[in-house]
């Protein structure tokens, strides 16, 4: 598998040695370059670069505006199920998390109700999520959910367990246009320690999932690392390796990156490598300099004050008004198990106002059913 080879070409020691040895002069040289490459990234992750956050931010802003303009796309997550057969030590959904709250899988009429509510709030882009339970939420179930969601939203993405090429193709034929799949950590040792059960234990299978989706015709591909599990500089470096690889192999798909940060976890799990605000910002700015055309997603895991400050630093899409409980918008209330606690509780309209306040245009719609086959889109083209 090529992406694995690309990762293995950069042993962690090599990345960290370069981070350690980077000087201010190295950072200034990289900042003065017109274009940056992967090998510049350790320099931008260094302590020296931490002293140059302001010029890094200016450059990140310039590159982002050049490609994306002054716009921020808005999307909302819709959790379909919190049933999970995996045991990921950091996750509220894990089968052995020790949390006793209710587990549910939404039925079609419930999915309709949730979608309708979100559409009324103005959303035109939805991300459907499940736990890792292929038997409870098989591809047929996901396809049905995509069909329902597409009657409310022009753009539908999923974040579910890793699938086969044919599955992704099948879902794309149902009108799925985006797939999100986070590696969580690229550090194989740490990966093994925190993923204790289920299909997700298979590092290589998960690593290849996003390319399987891209090659199946999915237009928007999103990858990410869950910050807090391993050294952020190592994970962010491999995230860039993965992203650059996907841009080459899935050249017709748009790539975006996420940097979800663990701030809370179930009681049994102590977050090993907490990432500070300052480190999160440095990570994002550095990645922007190396991947100028990748979208950057920012979820409600982060608090309003930080989210608002990050808008002009390279972010391109944000979620808003999120609930991480299945049925959390209409159907089910408190008492249903949530995946993680969100930090930004503002309404979608409040988040949109904050985006405008930062001098950006909140974009609700950035996709059209016309990009799907006419029959399934249900349009009359007379």
């Amino acid at each position: 598998m090529e992406v694995l080879h690309a990762i293995e070409r950069w042993p962690q020691e090599r990345i960290l040695a370069q981070v350690e040895s980077a000087s201010l002069a190295d950072v200034d040289r990289v900042l003065a370059q017109e274009e940056r490459e992967l090998r510049d990234l350790p320099i931008l992750f260094s302590a020296a670069a931490a002293q140059r956050l302001e010029p890094m931010a200016r450059e990140a802003q310039r590159l982002t505006r050049r490609h994306f303009g002054r716009t921020i796309g808005l999307y909302v997550p819709l959790y379909l199920s919190n049933v999970c057969g995996a045991d990921c030590a950091y996750c509220g959904y894990a089968v052995r998390s020790g949390i006793k709250e209710r587990r549910v899988t939404l039925k079609p009429d419930e999915i309709h109700r949730e979608c309708q509510r979100l559409a009324e709030l103005g959303f035109q882009s939805v991300l459907l999520l499940t736990g890792e339970a292929p038997r409870v939420t098989p591809v047929g179930y996901i396809a049905q959910a995509v069909d329902i969601a597409r009657t409310y939203f022009p753009s539908v993405a999923i974040e579910v367990h890793s699938l086969e090429h044919e599955d992704y193709r099948h879902l794309a034929e149902h009108g799925l246009d985006g797939v999100t799949i986070y590696m969580e950590t690229y550090d194989r040792e740490v990966y093994k320690k925190v993923h204790l059960l289920g299909q997700k234990k298979d590092y290589v299978y998960r690593l290849g999932a996003i390319e399987r989706a891209g090659k199946a015709g999915v237009r928007r591909l999103s990858i990410g690392a869950l910050l807090g599990l391993a050294d952020w500089r190592v994970d962010a470096f491999y995230l860039a390796v993965h992203g650059l690889h996907v841009q080459r192999t899935c050249w017709q798909s748009a790539l975006s990156l996420s940097f979800p940060r663990l701030q809370h976890a179930p009681e049994r799990f102590k977050i090993p490598r907490l990432v500070s605000d300052r480190e999160l910002v440095q990570l994002m700015l550095a990645l922007r300099l190396v991947l100028p055309e990748a979208g950057f997603n920012l979820s409600t895991r982060e608090a309003p004050a930080l989210r608002d400050r990050m808008i002009p630093l390279g972010v391109t899409t944000m979620s808003a008004g999120s609930s991480t409980r299945p049925g959390g918008y209409v159907t089910h209330g408190e008492g249903t198990l949530e995946q993680f606690a969100i930090e930004d509780h503002r309404s979608p309209q409040e988040v949109a106002a904050a985006i405008r306040g930062a001098g950006y245009d909140p974009v609700w719609k950035d996709f059209d059913h016309a990009f799907d086959s006419a029959e399934s889109a249900g349009y009359s083209l007379a």
Binding site: R66, G69, R70, W251, E293, D361, D366, A370, F371
Partner: protein
């Protein structure tokens, strides 16, 4: 000088600056750019607008359709079929049957696919659309599109958003020399001087988005581009001399002929 309207598919326009709308921070900023520049053709990505409620759409309402032609574009489309579907949806929603064809299958540099663009142009022309295709600065493709019946050709100066100016200068020169339809330089123009240079070469119009959207003062920057386009056009009409790298003796090869006294009787 006499009046010099831009003619596209039988319609006349005074302004030679077209504006793209995708990257502005607000509808108000876009409106400021349109008004200050006097642009008469404004292109809007169909994937961004809600055709089911055009009155509620920010972007659509920023365009005064009594003064500006709202030119729908197909950006985001990867195949001819997708572009055709978008164009038909726009026409069904009451927009004019004009379309700026943008077939950009790769999202990083948004470079146009020549094969799908030609295919889509043929399909749309058959359906009665006025087609303005965004293309690579490829002179042969430009002729093929012109023969297919497109109303213009719109070669790129540089990749979208790059602000690099006329990187494709030599090919655009050939396109202009050969074209029977208006040539609009689209994409990559980052400064008014780039617009002026395009027009001095004989382009018929320019299209700008990023450089306007990214300015601190959207209106002033749009006006500066409009003025540059106008100045370049005027210079071209006035007969701009070719530029030279160094001074030249006026007739180094044939001057000797004048030194010989004409033989008299």
């Amino acid at each position: 000088m006499t009046a010099d309207p831009l003619r596209i598919a039988g319609r006349e326009f005074t302004s030679r600056l077209m504006i793209g709308t995708g990257k502005f921070p607000s509808a108000a900023a876009l409106r400021a750019a349109i008004e200050a520049s006097g642009a008469e053709i404004v292109t809007v990505a169909l994937r961004r607008v809600d055709l089911s409620q055009p009155a509620a759409d920010d972007m659509l309402s920023a365009v005064d359709r009594s003064k500006q032609l709202l030119l729908p574009n197909t950006s985001g489309a990867r195949t001819a079929e997708e572009a055709v579907r978008l164009a038909k949806l726009a026409r069904a929603a009451g927009l004019e049957p004009w379309v700026k064809l943008e077939l950009t299958p790769e999202p990083r540099y948004l470079l146009p696919d020549p094969v799908e663009t030609l295919r889509a142009a043929e399909m749309l022309i058959k359906e009665g659309f006025t087609v303005l295709p965004y293309i690579q600065a490829d002179p042969v493709l430009a002729k093929r599109l012109e023969e297919a019946g497109t109303a213009t050709v719109m070669p790129l100066g540089a990749p979208i958003g790059s602000n690099r100016g006329l990187q494709t200068r030599d090919m655009i020169r050939i396109i202009i020399e050969q074209s029977e339809v208006p040539v609009v330089v689209d994409a990559g123009l980052g400064a008014p001087s780039h617009a002026a240079e395009s027009m001095e070469m004989g382009a018929d119009a320019v299209l700008v988005n990023t450089a306007l959207a990214d300015a601190e003062d959207h209106g002033s920057m749009a006006k500066a581009f409009a003025m540059a386009a106008e100045a370049g056009r005027m210079a071209w009409r006035a007969g701009l001399g070719p530029s030279r790298d160094r001074a030249e003796a006026s007739s180094p090869l044939t001057g000797f002929l004048q030194e010989q006294a004409p033989s008299g009787a």
